[in-house]
Amino acid sequence: MIFQFFRKKTQSDSSNTAKARLNNVLMADRLKVSPEIMEQIKRKIQESVGQYVDIDAADIEMQVEQKSSGVTLSTKLPIKELKKKR
């Protein structure tokens, strides 16, 4: 609580919005695919990975990074619940 008190009241986060938007346009630019295709990729991942673990297409995060080894597509798939079948 003391932290709250001393922290400035007007904490905004438009920079996070900027960062997220930038990531989206760069992903499309770097892969040369449209945002719709990116959404399709997410749905396909959900379809295939979703057979084994419970994930939501809306939670999937994708990022295209320029690394020295080349362009890399990394995805983060937050799991809702482990499926109880084995």
Binding site: F3, F6, K8, V25
Partner: protein
Amino acid sequence: MGRVITVTSGKGGVGKTTTTANIGAALAKRGFKVALIDADIGLRNLDVVLGLENRIVFDIVDLIEGECRLNSALIRDKRYEGLYLLPAAQTREKDAITEEQMKDLTIELAKEYDFVIIDCPAGIEQGFKNALSGADQVLIVTTPEVSAVRDADRVIGLVESRGISDIGLIVNRLRPELVERGDMLSVEDICDILAIKLVGVIPEDDSIVISTNRGEPVIGADDSKAGKALLNLTSRILGEDVQFLDLKDKPKGFFASLRSIFAQQ
């Protein structure tokens, strides 16, 4: 042989020309012989930023077409010994020069000068390709905005595809107080996204406006944070290990200091 450095950005208006002028002046101040080339044919501006606009007789197209000799086309800056400018042509088109001609020119200049610094036009068309044709090193200028960083990313890809691997990033017009309250992309955000080596961070600074009004490099102004940042940037170009400036203003009172401590939690 001198080193050829091209300053580029993709997006216009991010501060390429001002950065080029100041790096040139700072290198000359350090005792190097520097040739600045304005490659923005049709929209020349490096001359006015340096305050040399009244001394132009010949330009880069005259030189390439053989209308004048190398030494008569280059304007000597009287304030910074060793600093020379090759102005762009104002009444010609960007395709008045080919990549081959530009490359030959940089090779010729690098024989005589320690540094050849090229101010690239905005965009990724012919003028951009010309400006890159002889480059050993490329400096990408960006500002903390989505559009500028996006263009920088595209330009980095194009530069890499030409086999140039020495690429440095300059973040210009940073406003630390906006970054601190979460309303501006931070230098770390930009570096994460672009993944190239950071060589300079220049704060937004009134002294740049004032210096540019007067046609003087800001590195000559006393007490200018931007000037100091540009001098540090130049040292890094020379391979020196210089700390990045702490651009944040010091908290003013007791409560402000406490707040700044807790804000980091």
